[in-house]
């Protein structure tokens, strides 16, 4: 306890950045694996809701938080990756969270210990696992090799690949073709591929207007906001964006620049962005927590506790979703707050909230100045032990508009601050 208070003190004095890395405690009341929208929010809200009484260790190997929301605009050339890159300093300095910059490599749910890549281990009373997704490259023949070679980029986890894909788009000659292949639902960020197609088209319209965007969708229709995206393609980019439903990518040939499509002819493109099927992050799968078809993690929705292990709470894109629940940053942030409140209640010996509520709003840009949204509110239905969208609530934009582009930018600022514990006034 003393060591933790000393660390908190150092953070409060602004010394965290130059202090030695925190010593890994032998155990913590709450260990959080993952510093994305789910994990960071959970760490922050366990501290907030326990009035700083519960100690939290967050394990995240990346030096900084990089937001996936907004990263399609980096591909379009209207935002910089630096604008989406934020510090974890407020979580350590303002909120007293111990951040261990290491990767969790194994979970022993019976002994309640997490082993790190460095070989150290830490015990927990409660574990929060927010591992994000793993891209299943091997589901598309040739894709892993093409990705390892740097020829076919995913850029579905924002970071260096986002910049590399931007460079491929910049290098593409006018009159070229950009093809994005979308896996069967569910996948991370349902509107994301369609937003990507839209804002890349906006870039082409500006910089190389004879080029084309080809959307190869394994699904029967656009998965999110279909009417709004299709109206944008038709009206903003006539002849430029082509949408092909029921086009499932099953192989790639990077040298020839082709995608093999199930039951269809091969498709050639100058820049290929083939998104493979996704599943829960590898640690969840390897720990036996991905107990829904070995792909997603089943949870008890009242507290996001794993159905496979005691005192393990799984959040965000990694879970087997409830009806109408998107795999989104906003939803991961919402999961985290329900789980954090339940964990604080359980550690305090009081009843867990019987009526948790989740909200979700996903904004998508359709060009540089216009955005659309999908929103929903989800209530816990005890009789069915799941969340359901509240009937009569939720919906999408009436039409694309400029006001929602401003809201999208403000949403990002506010959810980043909420997730990372940033001071609101600066």
């Amino acid at each position: 306890m003393k060591r933790r208070e000393l660390l908190v003190g150092a953070g409060a004095l602004g010394l965290a950045a130059c202090a030695a890395p925190p010593v890994l405690p032998g155990r913590a009341q709450v260990v959080v694996i993952g510093g994305g929208f789910g994990g960071a929010t959970a760490a922050r809200y366990v501290r907030l809701l326990s009035q700083q009484r519960v100690d939290v260790v967050m394990i995240e190997p990346q030096p900084r938080f990089v937001s996936c929301p907004g990263s399609n605009l980096v591909l379009a050339g209207t935002r910089r990756l630096e604008d989406l890159t934020l510090s974890y300093d407020a979580l350590t300095g303002r909120h007293g969270i111990t951040w261990v910059r290491d990767e969790a490599s194994a979970i022993d749910t019976a002994r309640k210990r997490v082993t790190l890549a460095s070989g150290a281990s830490i015990g927990y009373d409660k574990l929060v696992l927010s591992p994000g997704i793993e891209l299943m490259f091997d589901e598309v023949q040739g894709l892993r090799q093409a990705h390892d070679d740097g020829r076919l980029l995913q850029a579905w986890k924002a970071g260096p690949e986002t910049l590399a894909l931007r460079r491929q788009l910049e290098a593409m000659p006018d009159g070229g073709v950009f093809a994005i292949a979308i896996p069967e639902s569910p996948f991370r960020c349902p509107p994301g591929p369609y937003e990507r197609a839209s804002v890349v088209a906006a870039y082409f319209r500006r910089a190389k207007p004879r080029s084309k965007v080809l959307v190869l969708d394994a699904n029967a229709d656009v998965v999110s906001k279909p009417a709004l995206f299709k109206a944008a393609w038709r009206e903003l980019y006539p002849g430029m964006v082509e949408y092909r439903p029921q086009h499932k990518a099953i192989g790639v040939d990077a040298a020839r620049g082709t995608v093999r499509i199930e039951l269809q002819d091969d498709v050639r493109a100058d820049v290929l962005n083939v998104l493979p099927p996704m599943r829960a992050g590898a640690l969840a799968v390897n720990s036996g927590l991905a107990n829904a078809v070995n792909r997603w993690c089943r949870v008890n929705f009242i507290d996001f506790g794993s159905t496979a292990a005691q005192d393990v709470h799984v959040l965000g894109d990694a879970i087997q979703i409830a009806p109408g629940m998107p795999k989104s940053a906003h939803m991961a942030n919402a999961h985290a707050k329900v789980a954090a409140a339940a964990i604080v209640a359980q550690l305090s010996g009081v009843a867990v909230n019987a009526h948790p509520v989740l909200t979700n709003t996903c904004y998508s840009f359709v060009d540089d100045a216009n955005a659309i949204h999908v929103a929903s509110v989800h209530e816990y239905v005890a009789a069915e032990s799941t969340f359901k969208p509240v009937a009569g609530a939720g919906g999408v934009s009436a039409q694309r508009n400029e006001a929602e582009a401003a809201y999208a930018a403000a949403w990002a600022q506010n959810i980043w601050a909420d997730t990372l514990g940033l001071a609101p006034g600066t």
Binding site: Y45, L48, L49, H330, N333, A334, K337, V338, A341, V344, A345, S348, G349, V350, A351, N353, H355, P356, V357, L358, T359, T361, H373, A375, S376, V377, H378, E379, V390, G392, A393, G394, G395, S397, N401, A403, E404, A406, Y407, A409, A410, W411, Q413, N414, I415, A417, D418, G421, L422, P424, G425, T426
Partner: protein, 106 residues
């Protein structure tokens, strides 16, 4: 016998006080969790990032907040997102939210 009786009563009183405390802790957690559903767009505890297009909620009058939420809910105040969100909450939840954000910051 008397002392035993007294002991039981004292224990019961303590237990009841503990139960009341636990109930108030659970209620406070539930209220703060409900308010946290607004935070992704309007800032933690309703304190929005300076200059953001979405308004801060913290410290506004309860009556004004509730009137706005009801107007958004029934559509008399036009909105892009908020009508769709406000309809997801019961009138009782909206009243709780208005009271929470009007109260001094926790």
């Amino acid at each position: 016998m008397t002392s035993l009786h007294f002991g039981t009563a004292a224990w019961l009183a303590l237990a009841l006080a503990g139960a009341a405390r636990a109930q108030s802790t659970a209620d406070a957690l539930q209220l703060r969790s409900l308010a946290a559903t607004c935070a992704a767009c309007h800032g933690t505890d309703g304190r929005a990032v300076a200059g953001a297009a979405m308004p801060a909620l913290q410290g506004r009058s309860r009556d004004e907040l509730l009137a706005q939420l009801n107007a958004l809910r029934d559509g008399s105040r036009p909105s892009t997102v908020m009508q769709q969100i406000a309809r997801g909450y019961t009138p009782a939840q909206l009243a709780q939210l208005a009271a929470y954000f009007a109260a001094p910051a926790p």
